[in-house]
Symmetry: C2
Subunit: 262 residues, 2 copies
């Protein structure tokens, strides 16, 4: 198991309290430079800047049972704007003028390692580089904000694409099988979401295979596998943590004013 992290100007492998700096391409040829940094002195960035940031809806049996929607046989997905991405410990804000619900959604993120198109489920597994934590933050009152009385167009891209609404990290774990783990979300240290990844309807390899039938997936693309029950609103000032055993804890701060997230 290897934990890949990124920081300003480089990337490396996290081991305990240190980061072994690497040269090259995280998804290709790379090697340690010999430099070792302390984690305490390293400001981690989102571990990857994807070309595509894909998010699934309705991909856990517990959610489907609660909402009454049938279990999907293909990934039902939206795209999150890549400008929504922030890293560990970063803050996020509601958009200016928005005073509706801002909801956390703790999710497993699949990170693509190699280009693939129209691959089988067995082949797809080999194109997965590793796994990370994603918080698929959502401005829940934006879905039908434009036309609440005659909802012609659910605004998935808008509700989920606001600046800061895509925390990813803290690391990409390679060489793990996350499907025995749980996704846990804590607000101000209090557990609010805790669900087993084994309840997932479409597995990571199946998702990759089915997505690749229509679009080429590229190294660094991130697929958030959907959340399960108990995705709930946050209030400004809160700290939200998404944890997955084997990957780590992605902690972010819901800031209290509406100025720009950098």
């Amino acid at each position: 198991m290897t934990l890949w992290v990124r920081f300003a100007g480089g990337f490396g492998v996290l081991a305990g309290d240190t980061v072994a700096v690497h040269d090259g391409d995280m998804f290709g040829a790379n090697a340690p430079t010999g430099e070792v940094r302390t984690l305490a002195d390293t400001n981690l960035l989102a571990p990857v800047v994807p070309g595509k940031f894909i998010g699934l809806w309705n991909n856990f049996h517990a959610v489907a049972a609660r909402t009454g929607h049938p279990a999907p046989t293909v990934p039902l997905y939206f795209l999150k704007a890549t400008s929504s991405i922030i890293g560990p410990e970063d803050g996020f804000r509601a958009p200016p003028g928005y005073d509706g619900k801002v909801v956390y959604e703790g999710e497993l993120g699949v990170v693509i390692g190699t280009r693939c198109f129209n691959v089988s489920e067995a082949e797809a597994a080999h194109h997965i580089f590793g796994y990370t934590c994603v918080n698929d933050i959502t401005a829940a009152d934006l879905f039908f904000a434009a036309d609440p009385e005659f909802p012609s167009f659910p605004q998935w891209a808008r509700a989920k694409g606001c600046d800061g609404f895509g925390p990813i990290g803290p690391a990409i774990a390679t060489g793990i099988d996350p499907m025995g783990a749980a996704v846990k979300v804590a607000l101000n240290g209090r557990e609010r979401q805790n669900y087993p990844l084994s309840d997932m309807i479409l597995s990571p390899a199946r998702i990759v295979s089915l997505l690749s039938r229509e679009m080429t997936l590229l190294p660094g693309d991130v697929i958030a596998c959907g959340t399960s029950v108990n995705a709930l609103p946050m209030r400004p000032g809160m700290v939200v943590e998404v944890s997955i055993d084997g990957i780590g804890t992605l902690r972010n701060h819901y800031l209290t004013d509406a100025a720009q997230v950098s």
Copy 2:
């Protein structure tokens, strides 16, 4: 008026049958290198590789009148996968196994020049670099393919994100006001779509301003302003051309087999 084009290894300014090669950043500081290529010997690429490829729905009065949807007061948008992008003269194919309708949608594309967040409509105009042609190709039978009898989730990202479904080009025209022009689409040389951009509901500057309230727009981001009436299916083997006066003609080929694009 300047027409910016991109080719393998560089970019430049199109003038008649020649391309004046430039050094630097298309959206920042740049200058001619002195090298001039002939257009005939230059394989044009999509003029930009955007971080975000945004597409609007229901943004022309003629469409709203035909469908009965109210004119929106905010951009109703989806995100197209950036891996869908192809350039002038490139071919596209339906995804493997898909035998439903593949529809052209000729559109004006707005290209962002400078980073902006939460800007007014007047400010937004200064953040627009220029304009290009977009063909927002859509696998119309994928919207509800997953659950036709109980349509829980319209699959905008899927229907519009297939490889090859995002032709852009041939150039980005700067220093023009396109709002007096028409968007024309021809199939095999026969005009199929011809609508005035003056019929647009939300103008380019208004779209940029409203989008920027929630997400930062970055240099190179492309916003397709939506199509008007008469977006219709194409058949494999056809040539589709999207033309806008002052920008040029974006020509692409609907290839007949389902192998991988590019």
